[in-house]
Structure formats: structure tokens, C-alpha cells
């Protein structure tokens, strides 16, 4: 009877497409909005992942998230280096500084200062130039999005395209000259500001004079060292906060979840999408069953059991659910792909596929349940009514 169930479903193309569209919409909203949400959240901690190397991040104990800069005294670096189990510990500067562009405007940039000797914590991928070029006088490396976007030079002609920064171009950071020695690819940050890498000593030179300028101490543990034990030891010895990379990401993400309106805004979008999708798909599927009640009654009169009819309805629900889910997820993937070179935050992990899959399944089960109850209660004797 599967064949008959499928032909009954697809026989009325308009209704069939209506159900599919409802489920596609629900699936699209249940994946697209959370994918943007996950994208935004992942950007909050993208800097931590870009730095990559260190096992442990040490900072002031009051720091709430990665951009919450509460500088340390330079001497803290040596205290951390003295903790047992630390293979190496390097300074890292992170601060927001204003860059003066060639047209006289200012742009706030995220300046990262790397240990002068090792340059540990540099950008994950160099596009032009080399990381070692930072050792050249006044050298800075600019991220590609900044170089082609907010830091680009004005177009020579009116309505022309801005001219991207290239190696050899100069910037002014806090009235100090900086020369571009490389262009790097970095993961976009939450604030989407240009990222400028330089050496630690040059970065603190660019920064306004303050008593304390060391933002983080990044630590590599000795081989075989238990990271949680080491973080605990660093905390006890220095009185500073120490987190593994995962803990620091969790701290940052949790801060944004608890202290911004992002989760509730996206949560409402997803909930509305689910409800609208459920209403459209559920109503259309239920109406489809109602309109086919006579056909189900004919099958019942001819000897089809409730079990057979139940399987037919479930098959119909599974089919429309699968097609709608596939199309919704496909559209979300297409959306993400088409937006890959824009500022839009978008991340589509497998967990979202499961989430939307469960959502669409619930909608289909709900719609099928309503239909099944109607069909099971159906009196086959209605076939003799004109």
C-alpha cells in the first residue's frame, strides 16, 4: 500500500507542494537563524582559536571574556614562567587602538602584540609577506578583511572602488608610523574590527602610556602535564586567573549568552519559525487527510486495517518531512555559501542538522497524529453516503 499512499500524497500537486513549502520554511528558519547565532557566538572566541598554540591563558582574575582587557604588570610574566610544569610563557598584548587613514579618518583596530623573540600567537594564515617581517622597523601585519575594507585607501575616482592596503603602505597608530609588511587571513571577530599584528614591544609603544599593558600571558605546558592541575597551580601561585583554551572559550561564550540580547532575539526567531512552519505544514497535512477521508473510508470498507492506513499516513509524513527538511537545510547551506565572503556571521555545525531534524520530525509527528486519529475513528459506512 506504500505505492498507493505516495500516489495519494503526490496526486494533488498543489497540496503536496504546500506541505513541502511549510516544512521547508520551518527547516530553513530552524537552521538559518541558529547558524547565524552560532556564527556570532563563534566569533566572540575566534581570537582565542586563531592564537592556537598555547594550552593555557593567564589573565587578571576579573576578566569576563576575551575582549574584556584588564592589563597585568609585566612582572607577572616571570611569575608564571616560574610555575612548575610550564614549558614556556609568552606575553600577548591585545587592545583597541585608533588608526589614522590616509584620508584623515580614524578607524578603531584590534591590535595584537606578539612576543618579540618568538612571535608566538601570530595570524593563522599569511596571504602575503612573512610573519618574521614583523621584525622590520615599524612593521605590522593587517588582516585581509581590514586591508580590503575598513583600512582600504579611498578610491582615486568618485564612486570608484577603495584601494586595498598592500605591503609597503603606511598607517598611523596613535600618531606613530606603522608600515604594512604582510597581509594575513584571520577569523572574523565579534566586533568585526580590522586586526593588526605587531611585536609586543611595538604594540605597547603604539598604545597610550599606562602603568600596566600586558593583556595575557600565554602558556605552553610541559609534555604530559595535566592542564587542569597546571591552571590550578598557576592560580594558586600567582593569584591570577588561568584557563585552558576550552575554558576560556566557554567563559567568553557564556558571557555573551548571559549578558547580551543575542540568545533571546534568535530564540524568538527560531520559535516563531517552528510555530509558523508547524502551523502551515500541520494544517496543510491535516487538511490533506480530511479531503482524502472518503478515500481512506473506501480502503477501510474494502478491508484495509487501521494499521495499514496508519502506515500509509506515516509514510506520507516521513516523505514530506524528509523532502521539506532536505530542502530547508539545503537552502540554509546555500545561503551560508552565498554569504561566505560577506561580513555575515554563519556557522553550520552538525548539531544544527540534528536540531532541525528533530524539529521537523516533531511537526510531522504532530500533523500525522491528528490525521491518524481522524482516520482511525472513521466509519467505513460513510462510503455509502452520497
Amino acid at each position: 500500500m506504500n505505492h498507493i499512499a505516495l500516489k495519494m500524497l503526490m496526486g494533488d500537486r498543489g497540496k503536496y507542494l504546500g506541505i513541502i513549502m511549510g516544512l521547508t520554511f520551518a527547516s530553513l528558519i530552524m537552521t538559518q537563524q541558529p547558524a547565524i547565532f552560532v556564527g556570532i557566538l563563534s566569533r566572540t572566541s575566534s581570537f582565542i582559536l586563531d592564537v592556537g598554540y598555547p594550552d593555557i591563558w593567564v589573565m587578571d582574575e576579573k576578566v569576563q571574556f576575551v575582549d574584556d582587557v584588564k592589563p597585568l604588570q609585566d612582572t607577572e610574566l616571570y611569575r608564571v614562567r616560574g610555575v612548575a610544569g610550564v614549558q614556556w610563557a609568552m606575553p600577548l598584548y591585545k587592545g583597541m587602538l585608533k588608526a589614522r587613514l590616509s584620508n584623515g579618518t580614524f578607524q578603531t583596530c584590534n591590535v595584537i602584540g606578539l612576543d618579540d623573540a618568538t612571535l608566538i600567537g601570530g595570524p593563522p594564515m599569511m596571504l602575503t609577506g612573512k610573519l618574521e617581517d614583523l621584525r622590520r622597523s615599524d612593521g605590522v601585519i593587517v588582516d585581509i578583511d581590514g586591508a580590503t575594507g575598513k583600512l582600504a585607501k579611498p578610491a582615486l575616482e568618485k564612486d570608484g572602488k577603495p584601494i586595498p592596503l598592500k605591503i609597503g603602505d603606511t598607517l598611523e597608530l596613535n600618531d606613530k608610523r606603522a608600515i604594512v609588511v604582510g597581509i594575513a587571513k584571520t577569523t572574523k571577530t565579534f566586533q568585526s574590527q580590522p586586526v593588526i599584528y605587531t611585536t609586543y614591544s611595538r604594540a605597547v609603544g603604539f598604545a597610550p602610556r599606562e602603568r600596566k599593558l600586558l593583556t595575557f600571558v600565554i602558556v605552553k605546558a610541559k609534555a604530559g602535564e595535566n592542564l587542569h592541575a597546571l591552571t590550578k597551580r598557576i592560580k594558586e601561585t600567582t593569584g591570577l586567573a588561568a584557563y585552558t583554551q576550552e575554558e576560556f572559550i566557554e567563559l567568553t561564550v557564556t558571557y555573551f549568552l548571559k549578558n547580551t540580547g543575542i540568545p533571546i532575539n534568535f530564540g524568538i526567531s527560531v520559535l516563531l519559525g517552528f510555530l509558523v512552519g508547524a502551523a502551515i505544514a500541520g494544517q496543510t497535512f491535516y487538511n490533506f487527510t480530511l479531503e482524502n477521508l472518503r478515500q481512506f473510508a473506501v480502503l477501510k470498507a474494502m478491508g484495509a486495517s487501521n494499521g495499514t492506513l496508519l502506515r500509509m499516513i506515516l509514510l506520507q509524513a516521513v516523505l514530506v518531512g524528509s523532502v521539506g527538511y532536505g530542502m530547508g537545510v539545503g537552502l540554509t547551506a546555500l545561503f551560508g555559501y552565498s554569504m561566505r565572503n560577506t561580513i555575515l556571521a554563519f556557522k553550520f555545525p552538525w548539531q544544527l542538522l540534528v536540531f532541525s531534524g528533530v524539529g521537523v520530525t516533531l511537526i510531522c509527528m504532530f500533523a500525522a497524529l491528528l490525521s491518524i486519529i481522524k482516520v482511525i475513528r472513521l466509519e467505513p459506512a460513510i462510503v455509502f453516503k452520497g
Partner: protein, 231 residues
């Protein structure tokens, strides 16, 4: 002879409760239908014809009395057993044809075979064969919407016959058809459907087809007024 009896109804009673009012649809019906016989149930609207045919077809339970179909009391059967019995032994022809609109003629005809456990391809093959018998061999792949009313009723007859049931119940099979088409449909039913191992029960108030009946049971107010030999 007892073995010649296809349907044996004794003191059949059915009362509908319509919001407090009791409507007696069957008020103690006694009726026997023989094998090889075409029995027509006639009478005015609301006289209980449809209720009686529903009980005979095993899709409605009576309140009292017995109705044995080929010696089997459907009322005492388990639900699943009754479904199997109906699928194997009863064919239906409806006033509004009740063909599934998205299925082709052959697929519609194959449904009773599929319900009896025959594989789809084999069922459709046998469906096409029986469509040939009712003169629709060239329309096996047509959808109901592509067929005339008479052709749709012939498909419905093929569907009622395809699994070789012992009892065929027809509800107003000609009322939606013009006189000539109705006449053809009745001729077809008589020629193709009726034989010595099968009984036909037709509910109708189309007097133009009374001549096809072997016997006619006249109903009124939930009772059978008379059963007359039409020959």
C-alpha cells in the same frame, strides 16, 4: 438448500441516536439472498436501504438480530478476522464510483488484490486483465479524471470483481449515469459479475433498471414490505 444462501438476515435492527431522537433505520428485517441471484433493494430515501447494505457488507454493526454471510456471523468475528473476510469475499460498487483520483484505472482496480496480499505488479497485471473484460483495455493507464462517468463506473465494477468475491454490494450504481450508460453498466454487471457462486445486492431507486433483477425487495420505514420475483 442452506448452501445456496449467500446472505441470511434475521430480525435485523438498527437504531440511530440523532441528538436524543431515536431513528429506527432497520426495524426487524428478515431477508435471504441466494447465490447466483441479483437482488435489488428498492424504496424511498431514508427507508433503510443504505443501512441494510452496510450491515450486509460488514461495515456497520446491527443493534440486534443476526446477519450471516456465507454462514459466517460477522458480528461475532474479531475485528481483524472481519477485515480479512471483507477483503476476500465482498466487492463494492459505489454511487460516486469512489475511485482514488491519483491512481490509474489499473492501480485502482489492483487495490483489493493488494489488500489480499498480492504483490503490486501482479495485482496491476490482473487489474489490466479485468479492465479488458469490462471494455477498458485501452484505458488502463488513464486517471479517473480522464474517464467519462460510465467508464469510471466500469472501472469500479472491475475493482469490485478483480479478487473474485462471493458477494458484490452496489449502491445506486446507475444514478449518476444517463439512461443508456446505466443500461450498459447493468448489462455488464449481469454478464461479468453474476454467476452461480456469487450474489449481487443492488440498492437503487432507479426504476429503469428493475428489469435486471432476479428478485426485488421493497423497503419502507426500515422494514421490508415485500420481496417479489422480477422474472
Amino acid at each position: 438448500m442452506a448452501t445456496d444462501i449467500a446472505v441470511d438476515c434475521k430480525n435485523l435492527t438498527k437504531v440511530y441516536d440523532t441528538g436524543g431522537d431515536k431513528v429506527v433505520a432497520l426495524g426487524g428485517i428478515d431477508l435471504q439472498i441466494r447465490l447466483g441471484e441479483l437482488m435489488m433493494l428498492v424504496g424511498p430515501s431514508g427507508c433503510g436501504k443504505t443501512t441494510l447494505i452496510s450491515v450486509i457488507a460488514g461495515i456497520l454493526n446491527q443493534d440486534a438480530g443476526t446477519c450471516e454471510i456465507f454462514g459466517q456471523n460477522l458480528l461475532t468475528m474479531q475485528h481483524r478476522e472481519k477485515l480479512k473476510f471483507r477483503a476476500a469475499n465482498i466487492g463494492f460498487v459505489f454511487q460516486a464510483y469512489n475511485l482514488l483520483p491519483s491512481l490509474t484505472a489499473a492501480e485502482n482496480v489492483s487495490i483489493p488484490l493488494i489488500l489480499n496480499g498480492i504483490k503490486r505488479k501482479e495485482a496491476e497485471k490482473r487489474g489490466a486483465e479485468i479492465l479488458e473484460k469490462v471494455g477498458l483495455g485501452s484505458r488502463t493507464r488513464s486517471l479517473p479524471s480522464q474517464l467519462s462517468g460510465g467508464q469510471q463506473q466500469r472501472v469500479a465494477i472491475a475493482r469490485a470483481l478483480v479478487h473474485n468475491p462471493k458477494l458484490i454490494v452496489c449502491d445506486e450504481p446507475t444514478s449518476a449515469l444517463d439512461h443508456e450508460t446505466g443500461h450498459h453498466v447493468m448489462q455488464l454487471l449481469k454478464e461479468v459479475a453474476l454467476h452461480k457462486d456469487r450474489a449481487l445486492v443492488i440498492v437503487t431507486h432507479d426504476a429503469r433498471i428493475f428489469g435486471f433483477a432476479d428478485r426485488i425487495a421493497k423497503m419502507d420505514d426500515g422494514r421490508i414490505d415485500s420481496v417479489v420475483d422480477a422474472k
